[in-house]
Amino acid sequence: MTPAGLLVMLFSVGTVTSLFSWCIYKVLTSPGESDKLHAVELHTPDMDQPD
């Protein structure tokens, strides 16, 4: 592994880790944020409607 390779690796891994950590910090420190955060959630409202 060359020094340039090591630099690319450290920069890439460091950047994604920092970004993810900042998101977690923001979610935990913004009031009521965890209730407003959503992902691809498998249970959709149409499942609760009668056929």
């Binding site: 592994m1 060359t2 340039a4 390779g5 090591l6 690319v8 690796m9 890439s12 891994v13 950047t15 994604v16 880790t17 970004l19 993810f20 900042w22 998101c23 977690i24 923001k26 979610v27 913004s30 944020e33 407003k36 955060l37 959503h38 992902a39 691809v40 959630e41 498998l42 249970h43 959709t44 409202p45 149409d46 499942m47 609760d48 409607q49 009668p50 056929d51």
Partner: protein
């Protein structure tokens, strides 16, 4: 935790390392990082915002969302691509899901213990039926058929009975566990060193070099023939040996250093990097727009999108990127993995790593089971755009919609299972839908968001309920850079990799195998039928869209339910 959990998928541990290996590590990472910033994040945010807006009018499918935003007859037909992509990808994704559960159970039952790479590669070929068509259609634990049937029925049972809350809860614990397992595996891989003392160049440190070095050192023939390919060498000792080999060749061989800048001229690299961003962030899939439509008006689409993306990038780069390639180089060598791409690398290499670690059967089984869980959530999420579309287009209930989708996807998955020689059907569908159509959909979406809907309106909608403001630099990125980048890379890729043009001289050459598979003397029945399936599904969805009353309302900007 749920957001992070839903972001983890097969693409992180299997597809990403394969592509990075194929396109040469460091340069691929540069294209990948740029793609993340100028296409992944902006298109993701655009999809979240457009989906939530469409949902506020009662539309939950891409054709409905496009129609109510653009308010034109053509928009709903463009939106069909957002249904075709996830439905067709589901047809082959479910195969890979079946491989995961098959590998998990076989590890736990002690059936999988490999002495060397040849054994692991041979087992994979037999399991998926790569040797010939229909060879995986046997009822054996060592072939894909029984696992595919079980997985297909399991998925549809879950969504037909509305049991997805159960699997969602399971994933809330399962996905963090997958990350812990990946960290354990990372620790094991980093301490592998050079497992075979007779081959000291095949080491983890050279694997990391292969993955991350921006410049490549290659041995090439002085006058290469059409089938000659450069051989990459990594590490000071291997390069010194290659120098001796070149000196002894009497001028027949030469050693060249390929800079990252020259690698970045390859449009295929950019398309692969962009495609991976689409695949792992699920942007350009037609999935996010559907799930965002179920959000409340004040939910935070900006932080939701960023958290899901960053969690995914962490798993992909910091875990997936450090495990598979270094382990592959340690066991197979740089020459052994050259040209290997896609998920195959993970299924050939990781089982060998597990075979060589203490309690490998347990960890191997656990790892592939966690991948299976991740795949279940992804595959079910791929069905929702199709389900929501059929519900909306035909005005039917969920169960009827699930039944229609079940029949359609069973036919496609059956085809992918039958035509397994060289995984031709899977590869063809992944190229034309998993790469080509995703690119088209992403381009259409960002143009609609930035130009048709308008950047001001789009930003206003995006920031409703947001915890932070998206930097203003993303306005020109969304309007100019993102569509310009997509169109340029797409045009260069079409010229070079589909129609065979030499971009330096602009002279035409041999067309891509994906094109020659469809026409002429070298055509492949599996490839032709795969493309025919995509066309037939498109026509079917087009007819449903044309007859839909809901979409007629959407075109006029009216809510679905007055």
């Amino acid at each position: 935790m749920a957001v992070a959990g839903s972001a983890v998928g097969l693409g992180n541990f299997l597809r990403f390392p394969g592509l990075a290996a194929q396109y040469g590590g460091g340069a691929f990472m540069m294209a990948y990082a740029i793609s993340f910033l100028i296409i992944g994040l902006p298109i993701g945010w655009a999809e979240w915002a457009m989906g939530r807006y469409a949902g506020s009018l009662g539309y939950n499918s891409a054709p409905g969302a496009f129609a109510c935003i653009v308010r034109s007859r053509w928009a709903k037909y463009a939106g069909i691509i957002g249904v075709i992509v996830p439905v067709i990808i589901y047809m082959y994704y479910v195969m890979i899901e079946a491989w995961c559960i098959g590998y998990a159970v076989n590890f736990w039952s002690g059936r999988m213990h490999f002495k060397d790479a040849a054994e692991a590669v041979g087992y994979f070929a037999g399991f998926v039926g790569a040797a010939g068509d229909a060879t995986a259609m046997k009822f054996s634990a060592d072939t894909a058929l029984p696992w595919l049937l079980a997985v297909f029925v399991f998925n549809f049972y879950l969504i037909y009975r509305g049991l997805s809350r159960g699997i969602e809860k399971m994933c809330q614990f399962g996905m963090p566990l997958l990350i812990v397992l990946a960290l354990l595996l990372l620790g094991r891989v980093m301490t592998l060193g050079a497992p075979d003392p007779a081959r000291p160049h095949d080491s983890v440190i050279n694997g990391l070099g292969y993955m991350w070095n921006p410049s490549k050192v290659q041995v090439v023939k002085a006058t290469p023939g059409p089938t000659d390919k450069p051989r990459e060498v990594v590490g000071a000792a291997a390069i010194a040996e290659a120098e001796k080999e070149v000196a002894a060749s009497g001028g027949a061989l030469k050693l060249v250093t390929v800079s990252p800048w020259s690698q970045l001229w390859n449009p295929s690299l950019w398309l692969a990097a962009a495609g991976q961003i689409f695949f792992s962030l699920s942007v350009g899939f037609g999935v996010i727009i559907v799930y965002a439509s179920y959000m409340k008006p004040k939910d935070d689409v900006v932080l939701s999108g960023l958290t899901a993306s960053s969690a995914n990038e962490f798993c992909e780069v910091a875990l997936g990127g450090l495990i598979t390639i270094p382990a592959a180089v340690a066991f197979l060598g740089v020459a052994g993995i050259a040209g290997q791409a896609g998920v195959g690398l993970g299924f050939k290499v990781l089982p060998l790593v597990f075979s060589k670690m203490p309690a490998g059967a347990f960890f191997g089984g656990a790892f592939f089971f966690m991948l299976f869980l991740a795949a279940v959530t992804s595959s079910i999420s791929m069905l929702q755009p199709g389900i929501a579309f059929v519900e909306e287009a035909l005005g039917v209930g969920r169960r009827a919609s699930v039944a229609i989708l079940g029949m359609l996807t069973a036919f496609g998955a059956g085809m992918a299972l039958f035509f397994t020689a060289d995984l031709k059907a899977l590869d063809t569908l992944d190229f034309w839908v998993g790469t080509f159509l995703i690119f088209v959909l992403a381009t259409v979406q960002i143009i609609i968001f930035g130009w048709v809907w308008g950047i001001d309106r789009g930003f206003e909608e995006m920031h409703r309920g947001a915890a932070f403001q998206v930097p203003r630099v993303f306005r020109p990125i969304i309007q100019w850079l993102c569509p310009g980048f997509l169109l340029l890379v797409f045009a260069l890729w079409l010229m070079r990799d589909v129609f065979g043009f030499d971009l330096a001289t602009l002279k035409p050459g041999a067309v891509s195998s994906y094109v020659s598979d469809l026409f002429g003397a070298k055509s492949s029945l599996a490839a032709q039928l795969s493309v025919a399936l995509v066309v037939a599904v498109s026509v079917f969805f087009g007819l449903l869209t044309a007859r839909s009353r809901a979409y007629a309302k959407a075109e006029r900007g009216l809510p679905k339910h007055d």
